[in-house]
């Protein structure tokens, strides 16, 4: 099964194993991983599921909707910023480590 590792700013991390089709955002909520809010339930409406993905990992392009919302993140948008609700385990990656931003709100 796919897995996701969340690295926090303080250096600690959490790894969760998830069902295929689960988003980075949903996986965090289901496993009580703090640092992702996911207010809008994954509709690319709230920008509170912001994560930084590692350089060099092939992931689907940022859609227009995702791009618009990434402009509204609380912590700075970087080149490797993504919305956790738009990336699905099993479909877009099998194993992924993401860095959580300083703040989502």
């Amino acid at each position: 099964m796919p897995s996701i590792t969340y690295r926090r700013v303080d250096g600690t991390s959490a790894t969760v194993v998830v069902d295929e089709g689960t988003s980075i955002m949903r996986a965090a909520l289901q496993n009580d991983v703090a640092g992702i809010v996911g207010e809008c339930g994954g509709q690319a409406m709230c920008a509170t599921c912001h994560v930084y993905v590692p350089e060099g990992v092939e992931l689907p392009e940022v859609s227009d909707d995702e791009d618009e919302m990434l402009e509204c993140t609380t912590s700075d948008r970087l080149d490797n910023s993504r919305l956790g609700c738009q990336l699905l385990a099993g479909r877009d990656f099998d194993e992924l480590t993401v860095d959580l931003p300083e703040s989502q709100v």
Binding site: E39, C40, G41, M45, T48, E68, M69, C72, S103, V105
Partner: protein, 423 residues
């Protein structure tokens, strides 16, 4: 694009009226805590002491006065918001369905998602920047002029906050054939229907009149925007939907819900934040000198007093929540007003405090029903109305000569707020 618009109604009767079946919820299970001491009068006047006591002692009580179990703690509200399979939004016997039709707010996914998609990007940040921000500035000018004309002592809710929010919504939706006052009347009378538990026939009559008026106005605008598409919500909906999955009845219900939800909330957010800043001179100074942002002032304002204080859900199965076992079919009141004051998440929760540790509040709801108008509200309140009011009306404050009134628990905000300034 097809040649004929799939949404021409011909006449208002061509569309089925919303079905409404009254629903008798199951009795609370033995051992359930019954909060029979809670009265709607107390909640309406000042709900916070009641909610504080419930959070502490019985976080999910059955409240006979409201005919619902209250969900009062932050954590439990979060659970409900994120588990729509167990806690459905499609409440049986919902008075909202009777008052406004069956909108997306009373649907679960996947049906809800299909409806929600029709709103496209109209209410989102890019469109706000491209189109609506300018509209908000124009509305501001118009109603700020009213404040100046009436002068210090003017009642603010009815002269500024309400019409400002209504005019903004009118223009975003694209009701060129209506006025701000029509929008306010439609909104209030249909909301009154939604809360008409006493089944008062006069309330239904007024709600129905607005219901019909909105249909007529909408039919007219649909015909217009079919020929002349633009950036408004009505135009976007009819040009991106095909009439199969999304029907005219759906569009009517969705827009009525948005009329109901798009005026009082920004109106109440404006006045609530003003009250917060009036009561905390140091924080007011910090916002005015840029140490704190208006966005922070906004988020803390709706955290402090959530304009939508309570919203309904219904259980689909027997489930335990916050120590209470709820039977299948139980009606819940999800109390955002209370969750946002949960001391386990927000220290000194009763205080308007821009310095508090940042935590996500629940004023916009959570999960798929997260408020579609959130960005619109933020922009009209925090980018335009508040910064300009505080800059252009020096010494803005409550008028000490008159009484201000804050009220409500299903919706809460200032209903009467006389203000003055150094003219």
């Amino acid at each position: 694009m097809t040649a004929t618009c799939p949404f021409f109604a011909g006449s208002a009767t061509a569309v089925a009226e919303p079905e409404y079946t009254p629903y008798e919820a199951p009795a609370p299970l033995p051992g359930t805590y019954i909060a029979d001491w809670v009265t709607l009068e107390d909640l309406t006047r000042d709900p916070f002491p009641t909610f504080a006591k419930l959070r502490q002692e019985h976080p999910v009580p059955y409240v006979p006065a409201a005919g619902r179990y209250f969900v009062t703690r932050y954590e439990d509200v979060h659970t409900v918001d994120n588990d729509p399979d167990t806690f459905t939004a499609n409440e049986r016997g919902s008075l909202m369905k009777k008052s406004m039709g069956h909108s997306m707010l009373r649907m679960d996914d996947p049906n809800h998602a299909v409806q929600r998609a029709t709103y496209g990007n109209v209410l989102k940040p890019k469109a706000i920047k491209a189109s609506w921000r300018q509209v908000f500035e124009e509305s501001y000018e118009r109603y700020a002029a009213v404040l100046r004309e009436v002068g210090p002592g003017v009642e603010f809710v009815h002269h500024f906050a309400g019409p400002y929010a209504a005019e903004n919504l009118r223009r975003v939706m694209g009701f060129e054939n209506a006025t701000d006052q029509d929008m306010i009347r439609w909104s209030q009378t249909m909301i009154n229907g939604t809360g008409n538990y006493a089944d008062d026939p006069d309330v239904w009559a007024e709600a129905k009149r607005s219901y019909d008026e909105v249909n007529t106005a909408l039919d007219e605008m649909i015909a217009h925007y079919w020929e002349h598409p633009n950036e408004t919500l009505i135009s976007n909906i009819i040009h991106t939907s095909n009439g199969d999955e999304v029907t005219l009845a759906n569009i009517r219900a969705n827009l009525k819900m948005s009329i109901g939800g798009g005026i009082n909330e920004p109106r109440d957010a404006i006045t609530t934040i003003m009250m917060g800043l009036f009561g905390e001179p140091e924080q007011r100074a910090a916002v005015l000198d840029g140490t704190r942002t208006w966005k922070e002032a906004f988020e803390e304002g709706v955290r402090w007093i959530a304009p939508i204080g309570m919203y309904p859900r219904q259980t689909t199965r027997e489930v335990e929540l916050g120590g209470t076992v709820l039977p299948a079919g139980a009606k819940l009141g999800v109390v955002a007003l209370s969750a946002n004051r949960d001391e386990s998440v927000f220290a000194n929760a009763d205080r308007y405090d821009l310095g508090r540790e940042k935590q996500p509040h629940l004023a916009f709801g959570g999960g798929v029903h997260f408020c579609a108008g959130a960005w619109l509200a933020r922009s009209q309140v925090a980018d335009v109305a508040l910064p300009r009011l505080f800059a252009e009306f020096p010494g803005l404050r409550l008028d000490p000569e008159q009484q201000a009134v804050e009220t409500g628990w299903v919706f809460r905000g200032m209903t009467h707020m006389p203000i003055t300034w150094d003219a």
